[in-house]
């Protein structure tokens, strides 16, 4: 994004190789991106607590800071000073590495996300495939957490989570194919650029399939079987404490944020909105938080599914629907 001619000139004047310049800029971007992720997690957790409190006629956090706005900072400090417990039965290395393997792919997904006209870190030609494939590696971390903990709750939670994420991967990706057909590109910025009419209007079936399978991907209610508090304690991260627990938590909210941003890019017109072009990122943020609000609304309204219902919905309803959507899109495009 920033490999402008001026910088390249500067580099060649001082004898700095291009790859070193690229790497240095990439480090800055990576740290900035992490900061954005952290801020989004702080806002999302605060919103989650307040919205859930509203839905249940409570106040939510009120004591730390104005209307509890500093509650999460207090929680972070608490988690930072908590003891990092390794259960004596746990497989030490798998147990240690699991939070890293879960968190890093979730964070890497943002690499290709365009938030404004031309504002994107790396605009890959296969950006759409990348953003579907890389965060999916997080499943490996969840399975590692389950197996490494040597705990029955953790292992059941991780297997359920893996089965669910794997099943909903298919309808989620197939629902996007209609969009790729209309936009004629798998590059995220071109997909947004082609959206003169929002794709939620042109592809309503795809939107429903995508939203439902996204909810399953990020383990949000009604698909929160991997961590059903009432039966599995805390699911795959039952044995974790302190900072490692925090990174699982972090990965979950980064995934929620990533899901909302991807929905915005694919269906809600990305940075498009009234007003001049430099307002793009603001429109993008507004749409993203509207999407997060919808996800939380669903989360606090619906009860949890049973595992057989989850599997049935994925394979017998959403997958055929996604394929029919591809068919309809193709037919309509042939006729027009």
């Amino acid at each position: 994004m920033l490999s402008s001619t001026k910088l390249l000139e500067f580099a060649s004047n001082y004898g700095i190789p291009v790859w070193a310049l690229d790497g240095a800029i990439a480090i800055v971007f990576a740290v900035v991106l992490f900061a954005i992720c952290a801020i989004s997690v702080i806002i999302n957790v605060y919103l989650l607590r307040k919205i859930s409190a509203d839905f249940q006629l409570r106040y939510g956090p009120m004591h730390v800071g104005w209307h509890g706005s500093l509650q999460l900072f207090a929680d972070a400090i608490k988690l930072l000073t908590k003891e990092d417990i390794f259960p004596s039965n746990a497989d030490r290395w798998i147990f240690r590495l699991a939070p890293v393997v879960t968190f890093v792919p979730a964070y890497l997904g943002f690499l290709v996300l365009p938030i404004g006209h031309g504002i994107v870190i790396q605009d890959l030609n296969v950006g759409l495939l990348y953003i579907l494939a890389i965060p999916a590696i997080g499943v490996a971390g969840i399975i590692m957490a389950g197996f490494g903990s040597y705990n029955k709750y953790a292992i059941i939670g991780s297997l359920r989570s893996a089965a669910q994420m794997v099943s909903y991967e298919v309808p989620r990706a197939l629902s996007i194919i209609g969009i790729v057909m209309i936009a004629g590109s798998a590059k995220l910025s071109s997909i947004v650029g082609a959206q003169h009419v929002w794709y939620i209007i042109l592809q309503p079936i795809a939107f429903v399939v995508f939203l439902v399978s996204t909810l399953a991907e990020i383990n949000s209610t009604p698909f929160d079987l991997p961590e059903t508090e009432s039966e599995l304690v805390n699911g795959y991260y039952t044995e974790y404490s302190g900072m490692r627990f925090m990174f699982f938590f972090f990965a979950e909210y980064v995934a929620l944020f990533a899901a909302a941003t991807l929905t915005t890019v694919l269906f809600l017109g990305g940075w498009h909105g009234p007003g001049p072009e430099y307002l793009g990122p603001i429109w993008f943020t507004i749409k993203t938080f509207a999407m997060i609000w919808v996800i939380m609304w669903i989360k606090w309204t619906l009860p949890r599914f049973r595992i057989d219902q989850v599997m049935d919905l994925g394979w017998k309803v959403l997958l055929p629907l996604a394929l029919i959507n591809v068919l309809i899109t193709g037919l309509v495009m042939m006729i027009i």
Binding site: L80, P99, L129, Y150, V166, V170, A186, W315, L327, M333
Partner: protein
């Protein structure tokens, strides 16, 4: 292309480094008093762990993983087709219909065989 690879690797390294730094910081700041009871595996109500958690789990998990592989490979094929769909026209559309129909036949077979049923 090179720039993309550099960015991807740098982002991966920075991501791992941030997690490592945070966990290292927590190690300095946190208390460490492991006792035998604290390091026990968490279980409902029992002081001693009963049985082995690494049991043989349901065969269904494998079947769903196999189905995922099948349909994911299909997706990798459909994506490039969708990108150039406008230019290819009717012939490509019919071709893809045949391809998807064969796959749907497979799904129908799995469905009738009852492997999609979670018992």
């Amino acid at each position: 292309m090179v720039s993309e690879i550099i960015y991807f690797s740098v982002f991966t390294i920075v991501g791992v480094a941030i997690v490592a730094i945070a966990i290292g910081l927590a190690r300095i700041l946190s208390t460490r008093k492991p006792t035998k009871a604290k390091l026990e595996t968490y279980e409902c109500g029992n002081l001693n762990v009963t049985g082995d958690p690494r049991i043989q789990f349901k065969i269904h998990y494998y079947i769903f993983a196999l189905l995922l592989v099948l349909f994911d490979v299909e997706m990798i094929f459909v994506f490039p087709w969708a990108v150039v769909f406008k230019a290819l026209g009717l012939f490509a559309f019919v071709e893809m219909l045949v391809f998807i129909a064969i796959l749907l036949l497979g799904l129908y077979y799995a469905w009738r065989k009852g492997v999609l049923k979670w018992t």
